[in-house]
Symmetry: C2
Subunit: 276 residues, 2 copies
């Protein structure tokens, strides 16, 4: 795995052990699909990164500097996942933000599995998401709930786990948003109390203006006609099993949406990915 | 500020940028008062560290190795604060815990202000703590709520801010536990839904077996006869103002408790601290 830490002037530097990203999870991140050497949905990822930074009152870096640093970092790489972490930078002991914080960026490059878009199996997680409107929606570095949820299973046939919040509303999978067709209507849970406002989720809602945000119970999910999950690295994946419930055939709406996505972003086509 | 990253064999190493402590806040920490070159309440801090690691299913390091690394790190230092961060170690992209995680330790040494034990002023924070029993009580690295709460004020005369959870129960200050005398009874909020089970809090409850855990409202706090906050670095501090409410004289129970603490742990005596 390739990694680099840079300052906001784009210069490489040693990551400081008193960085608040480590001390408090004081930062945000993005994981970006790289296809044919180019970031997919860069504008959307960048927008979410600066929205998240804004919510946490972290100074927003210059897009051109970060973009150039990413391009240099990506040289010679074709199909990968680029992870960008933005932290508030170093600080003293204590939660108070330094008077002149100097945010830092950490880049890392990861493999992207060979894409087959096969339907996936989900389980129900016991770990509940706390309801925290101040942090909901953004992709911040406080991810212990997801770590705990993902540690609930080792079964390789389970692709992801579906999480509810502490009031038993369905929210998302540990690393993807979820959509369900219920009584003829595609629905997705709101992400104003927990969960992340996914880039792929926003893409789906733009393609399908008829999708509605709705509170969904476990029972409703079990009675759904069709379910899919999505994120900006995996694209759109039909769900063929959720806990005890099976969905034998891939719903035509999902197939249609996958085709639309592939046409718009060829990096999501079957057979793409580094295969490592 | 002095910092070092070590592996669980006690060897110094470069902090990896793909450490899960940075990626997800996947770890725990302790801030330990160092007085006359020795850690104060080491056993209690160590116990909480391994309890927290256990809750997160992070492998517990060998106490002797960590203790020796800390002693070496502290050589030549008398009055400081030692911060120990334990992370799950490096990982790939994704929340799944590596098959053989190798936890890492980061040590840092900080100044401790000259101690005067003067009463302090608190404000009410608007930032609410989410209710998450899976993470409550332990000192994990997901601290964005505290960062947001602490960023609510710049007024140097305000020492700390009091936080409620999303159901409006009083929980704690951003960096201290709280006790209030109400209708003749000392009370402190439970920390089973939010907040940290402080080392100083446990010391107080051991000294005063009559203290009760109780849900406290903002109104109850405003009607309290006396209030103090405590943590393992600052000791016990009387509160002379909470928002609009003042508490002009330090209650004799608090003075008595401060004396007890100083007798047991001279590092908390007035005039101690590095003064930097």
């Amino acid at each position: 795995m390739k990694t680099i830490a840079i300052n906001l002037a784009g210069g490489e530097e040693i990551f400081a052990l008193n960085d608040r990203g480590l001390a408090y999870g004081d930062g945000v991140f993005e994981t970006i699909l790289i296809h044919a050497g180019k970031p997919v949905w860069w504008d959307q990822h960048w927008q979410r990164l600066i929205n998240g930074a804004g919510r946490l009152k972290i100074s927003v870096p210059n897009e051109n500097i970060v973009r150039k640093a990413c391009e240099k970092f990506l040289e010679g790489h074709q199909d990968n996942v680029l992870k960008i972490i933005l932290t508030r930078g170093v600080g003293g002991r204590g939660y108070a933000v330094p008077v002149n914080p100097e945010p830092r960026i950490v880049l890392s490059l990861h493999d992207v599995p060979l894409r087959n878009n096969a339907p996936v199996q989900l389980r129900w997680c016991d770990t509940r998401l706390a309801r925290q409107p101040l942090l909901a929606g953004i992709k911040h570095l406080n991810r212990l709930e997801q770590v705990l949820a993902r540690s609930e299973w080792n079964d390789g046939s389970v692709f992801d786990g579906l999480m509810c919040d502490t009031e038993n509303n369905v929210v998302c999978a540990t690393s993807a948003n979820i959509f369900a067709k219920i009584q003829g209507q595609w629905l997705t849970p709101p992400v104003d109390q927990a969960g992340i406002a996914g880039i792929a989720r926003a893409w789906v809602m733009k393609q399908w203006p008829q999708v509605q945000e709705a509170h969904l119970s476990r029972l409703q999910m079990q009675q759904a006609e069709a379910i899919f999950i999505c994120n900006a690295v995996r694209g759109i994946l039909a769900v063929n099993r959720l806990g005890e419930n099976t969905f034998p055939s891939v719903h035509r709406d999902i197939l249609h949406l996958q085709n639309q996505l592939t046409m718009e972003q060829p990096g999501f086509a079957v057979g793409e990915g580094s295969g490592k």
